[in-house]
Symmetry: C2
Subunit: 343 residues, 2 copies
Amino acid sequence: MSDSLTERSRQILEAIIEDYIKTAEPVGSRSVTRRHGLSLSPATVRNVMSDLEELGFLASPHTSAGRVPTDKAFRFYVDSLLQVRAIDEEQRDEIRRHYRGQGRDVGEILKETSRILSSISHYIGIVVAPRFTANVFRQIEFVKLCGRRILAILVSESGVVQNRIVEANEEIPAEDLVRMSNYLNNLLQGLTISEVKTMIFREMESDRVRYDELMSRALKLSEQTLDEPDAEVFIEGQVNILEQPEFADVGRMKEIFRAFEEKGQLITLLDRCMDAERVNIFIGAENFLHRMTHMSVITAPYVSGRNTLGVLGVIGPTRMGYDRVIPIVDYTARMLSEILGNG
Amino acid sequence: MSDSLTERSRQILEAIIEDYIKTAEPVGSRSVTRRHGLSLSPATVRNVMSDLEELGFLASPHTSAGRVPTDKAFRFYVDSLLQVRAIDEEQRDEIRRHYRGQGRDVGEILKETSRILSSISHYIGIVVAPRFTANVFRQIEFVKLCGRRILAILVSESGVVQNRIVEANEEIPAEDLVRMSNYLNNLLQGLTISEVKTMIFREMESDRVRYDELMSRALKLSEQTLDEPDAEVFIEGQVNILEQPEFADVGRMKEIFRAFEEKGQLITLLDRCMDAERVNIFIGAENFLHRMTHMSVITAPYVSGRNTLGVLGVIGPTRMGYDRVIPIVDYTARMLSEILGNG
DNA sequence: GTTAGCACTCGATGAGACCGAGTGCTAACT
DNA sequence: AGTTAGCACTCGGTCTCATCGAGTGCTAAC
């Protein structure tokens, strides 16, 4: 398919796409010749554009408007035409600067990351927090609140904390809680959370535990602690899309904001990129969120050692500046990996 | 000032306000007579309306439109005319139902609370998480991550958890960390966080500690842990205001969304309600957020025992259904207090 | 004090004219 | 055969103008 394009067609397509990225408006044959030093007449360009429309790379909103690149065109652009630049030095420094304010809550770091992504890309930053299941267990602690209520705190190798209040059947003395957490910490050391789950299940069945009330109670509590809440996701900079001319229309905007309220769908989408090597791009309808028409998503996983922790990315209009944003996403993912990674 | 209004003027003002709340459109003299069984002619009503405008209760967008209640009118309405109903049974049940999914992370509960507020009021729900400073210290734990990095976990009496990664000057053995937390837990038991801060300061100066490296290190770590991050705030249902006809205008909408990005200002506003007895209302410009014109805020504090933990509320257009929303905010605050309160 | 009548205001709506960017086609040019 | 100039045509955007109707304020009568 891309072979069927002559060199000249490519050049013109690229010119149109780049124009469209700049202006958000249908591109006419004149502007192509004007803005790019191609020594061709508008009429010739028109012929080529007509062919490109035939091939599905361009669409015309109506007869007398210019033409607009389709999702297919952007896909081609990203795959074949785009030269990903190295990250801008200034931007790199800005990212580093944001991360400087050190020593905070992991959640804070993730939130800051999505703020960074949004403020530097001028689009929407998104970070999916690490799933517990993918993590390695480090420690569990029980803190007694009043009565039968216990605060369980679960810490993973990478320093992610999950805490929840559980209610025991009866009041448990503080010393017992310490013994319980010692027992569990020993038992579960070094396992991934999913291994932890099976381990707890197996241990509960074992004779040794079945008749030891303390242990079995400990296991029950930890079980309650483990069942995973919905993945947390940090989204920042939603206002930025209000600046985009193509969303001046109120109806379209509503759709977008609504899409962001359904975080579940977003998470599903980003989860699909967990195993990607590096940067991953969904263009327009490719993202399968019907509400997110005219939007593209650029993602990259962040890791700790060999372990993929989560995914981050930027959501912007389909006509976003891919060449600028891709390196930002890539670099930010690396920085975050470095900061969270402890190996 | 309210005395200067005759009974009839009041009735008419109320009718206008209620009409405006329903329709979001300027109210004319005819609609007042039509919709309300007042046996008065439009002409009479017009005279009264003219007086009300003189007094600053009404404003006319232009000569031939109807009239719109001013902030002052809404203030008067809320203070003097409004009969706050008891909460609707159905809504009460719905709130309870939302809270049923128990045993979660405190943060989760707060987020759910703001979701509840938004979905039941159909406006925007907002919850400011408890400040640490106002809380009573319960426990501190140190978890060793790799190298010199330590995860410090701070738990308050009410089960709120604050965690952050701190970096020590040198590697500290795990046993020492346990001893350090034991020392601190003993020292700080039962103090409020602000007392904790002074205590740490005093203790650091004491001779006993100055030459005990372990203790002084412990104090240093806890100091790092304590300095408070920005208060967390949960905002849900921002899309809901897109439904409000008065925000169909894109410019106005941008302003609102931008206001929500500056969470600091919102927090300042809500903080002012921390000491309020019960429900507190800011109407229109009263909230002092210049971006939030045409918006009102209804807040209520949530407590644990005598201790005010934080504030929650609903943000909606100035012409919101106060009679419906006030009991929702009030009831939700009570429920949340009950859930978090442990005494 | 209340009401009917009336002239007046002013935004909203819709029709018509016009403009201009852009297209597609044809015929001429290299 | 590919390229270009010329030209008729399309169609959204904008401007103007007339019209409509909800609503007002004023005056005079009840």
